[in-house]
């Protein structure tokens, strides 16, 4: 067989003549093999928490596929958007399925990504040499949030309209130019048809930007391979398994479970995560009694509204906005804030507990985001916000210095294969 001068003799050999012909000209088969096939070695001890990366990728593809078909039927005009969605629900063949799959698909995407993020937090997946991998992930999260927010506006129901109004108004908190920026964002002096049109254009565009960043995320991932539950580097071939078939089948099983949960939502509780007000057409003259975002934004919404006091000359609203965006921005600096040389939370006796405090804190903030900022809710949201930033900005740097990590196993295969009586801490799931 003739081989490419650039990769002489390397890569797998193929029996099939057609595959050989294509491979010689366009090396897609060897690429696939080295990307997620038998030519890509993965740590042998990855737990089910490592399923959520591939699930997130699949969720993204599902959103794009359902979204493109919905776009063929949707009308992006303030007078027609709501009716066009109802037409999709009633008259388009399987339109109800497309729309419910798309709206619940967004929720599934966020569930999966949040688990993916917290997995990274617990196992220290952001640490060297995976800082850029982590930061690209944070970029994806930001893009997802922008996309989801603009998508929620498109049905042009009451919550769509008022969520758009509240969130775009955040930019009015920018000193001096804020009002001008908001008018520019709206394309007018209130949320209206121009706003809907640009949100639609961007909602269609951004997912493809996400695809691009996901490409970079995967390129960075393949440079050093996955982190693993022990957080130690692979030392020998025994520490790895070929991605295919071991992790392809494991990911497929995870996909099956994901699809079952997804199907339960779509077919039996399609409006569980939605808000009834969004079945009322947008009305600029009538504010709903409670404006709440979709569930996946609730913790951020709680942070936004937690600040009820000015600090010196800085108005409360601006502080709320800064903290809300800051809660994501701080993640960019995480690789340098966490000074501990040990990646995995399994070997960090103190960090481990605070990790769960952070999880509970985020859940609590989510709960508070759904409630009016009154009385005890505000106080709790302030405590929750304070803890969130304390965790990243103070606790993690301190723990890096003060905490004494437990001894690390000498290799991945040792505890996994269960041959080492000593030093084995906990078997891989």
């Amino acid at each position: 067989m003739t081989t490419s001068p650039h990769a002489p003799g390397s890569g797998p050999q193929y029996d099939n003549a057609v595959i050989r012909w294509i491979e010689y000209r366009l090396p897609v088969f060897s690429f696939a093999d080295s990307f997620m096939g038998s030519g890509y070695p993965a740590p042998r001890n990855l737990s089910y928490w490592w399923n959520f990366g591939s699930l997130a990728g699949i969720a993204l593809v599902l959103q794009i596929v359902t979204g493109v078909v919905l776009a063929m039927h949707y009308v992006a005009h303030a007078d027609m958007a709501f009716d066009s969605v109802e037409r999709i629900m009633r008259d388009v063949n399987f339109g109800w399925l497309l729309r419910y799959a798309h709206s619940n698909g967004a929720s599934m995407f966020f569930i999966v990504v949040y688990i993916h993020v917290f997995r990274g937090l617990y196992y220290g997946s952001y640490k060297a040499p995976r800082e850029l991998l982590w930061m690209l992930g944070v970029v994806i999260l930001l893009l997802m949030m922008a996309t989801a927010f603009m998508g929620y506006v498109l049905p042009w129901g009451q919550m769509s309209f008022w969520a758009a109004t509240v969130i775009t108004n955040l930019f009015s908190a920018i000193p001096l130019v804020g009002e001008g920026v908001v008018t520019w964002l709206w394309g007018g002096f209130a949320v209206g048809n121009p706003t809907l049109n640009r949100f639609y254009a961007l909602h269609y565009l951004l997912p493809f930007v996400i695809v691009g960043v996901v490409g970079l995320h995967l390129a960075a991932l393949h440079q050093h391979g996955s982190n693993n539950p022990l957080g130690i580097e692979r030392k020998s071939a025994k520490d790895s398994l070929p991605f295919h078939p071991y992790y392809t089948i494991k990911d497929l099983f995870g996909l099956g479970v994901f699809m079952i949960v997804f199907a339960l939502l779509v077919f039996y509780w399609p409006n569980l995560l939605g808000h009834p007000d969004n079945y009322i057409p947008a009305n600029p003259m009538q504010t709903p009694p409670h404006i709440v975002p979709e569930w996946y934004f609730l913790p951020f919404y709680a942070i936004l509204r937690a600040i009820t006091f000015n600090i010196w000359f800085i108005p409360a609203k601006l502080i709320g906005v800064i903290l809300m965006f800051g809660s994501i921005i701080v993640l960019f600096f995480l690789p340098w804030l966490d000074g501990s040389p040990v990646r995995s939370g399994r070997f960090r006796p103190i960090f481990k507990w605070f990790f769960w405090v952070l999880v509970l804190d985020c859940v609590m903030l989510g709960y508070l985001g759904a409630h009016p900022p009154e009385g005890v809710y505000v106080t709790l949201a302030q405590i929750g916000t304070a803890y969130y930033f304390f965790h990243f900005l103070i606790l993690l740097p301190l723990l890096g210095k003060l905490e004494r990590p437990r001894p690390l196993p000498s290799s991945i295969s040792e505890p996994v294969l269960g041959r080492a009586p000593a030093a084995s801490t906990s078997p891989a799931e």
Partner: protein, 255 residues
């Protein structure tokens, strides 16, 4: 003016939020709970209940409330024949046009038409209803929390206000309406309609029939959705089982 209003509403109502909501107005009554035929994994619409609900809608509700997302042809899903649907449609006058003379004209409804709304626009609707806007009912059960039970409860919720509670002129006390004071006069009274199937014409019966009908108008694809869902889930459970078995087998060699 409008812009300033919108902007100030949102800054007040949006960010510092919800303090704008009148204090004490938030004690919302939990609607009466009823077992509906359309609930559960195998739920379907009770055709006779929905047909009776349509009758109540046509004899009572439609004087003020529209049903603009529902076409007459959709009624076939409730068990009406094509001829019956045509007959129902023909009882309505639909504005069509313009014709060759450039004039709009009225013609009897056809199955492809949608239910005409009772008022030409919201302003006319408000004028005829003491300033209140009777909402279109197509989506009402999805536009309210626990919507089917809400409609069922609201229609039976008219009662004497508790002592000391005073509403504005022209408002009625309803136990299940947010704030309790509703502009809609009690729409149903016992024996108001005559059901061809001899069903009871109590307010409770009519309320549950209307709620069934309006749940169908809001979610007409519910039966197809649940039936599809069952097949999809069966398929997925088997597929996932196969994936799991394969995973076990493949990984057996790794341990």
């Amino acid at each position: 003016m409008l812009r300033t209003m919108v902007v100030s509403t949102l800054i007040l109502g949006g960010l510092c939020l919800v303090k704008a909501a009148p204090a004490g107005a938030q004690e919302e009554a939990v609607p009466l709970q009823r077992n509906w035929s359309f609930e559960g994994l195998f739920g379907t619409y009770d055709r006779s209940a929905a047909q009776r609900g349509l009758q109540v809608y046509r004899e009572v509700c439609q004087n003020c409330h529209g049903l603009k997302y529902v076409a007459f042809r959709n009624l076939e899903a409730l068990g009406f024949t094509e001829d019956e649907v045509s007959a129902i449609a023909a009882e309505y006058q639909i504005t069509d046009g313009p014709n060759d003379e450039g004039e709009m004209y009225e013609r009897p409804g056809r199955p492809s038409d949608r239910f005409p709304s009772p008022f030409p626009n919201d302003q006319a609707a408000r004028l005829a209803n003491g300033g209140a806007l009777p909402p279109d009912l197509s989506l009402i059960t999805k536009a309210r929390e626990d919507g089917s039970n809400y409609v069922y409860s609201l229609l039976q919720g008219y009662e004497e206000p508790p002592p000391g509670e005073q509403g504005l002129e022209g408002l009625y006390y309803n136990a299940y309406f947010p704030n309790h004071w509703i502009a809609m006069p009690p729409p149903l009274s016992d024996g108001q309609v005559t059901f061809a199937d001899g069903s009871s014409t109590s307010v409770e019966q009519m309320a549950s029939d209307v709620a069934t009908f309006l749940t169908w108008t809001a979610e007409p694809m519910l039966e197809a959705r649940k039936q599809t869902g069952l097949k999809v889930l069966l398929f997925l459970v088997v597929l996932t089982g196969l994936f799991y078995a394969s995973k076990r087998r493949i990984w057996a060699s790794a341990h």
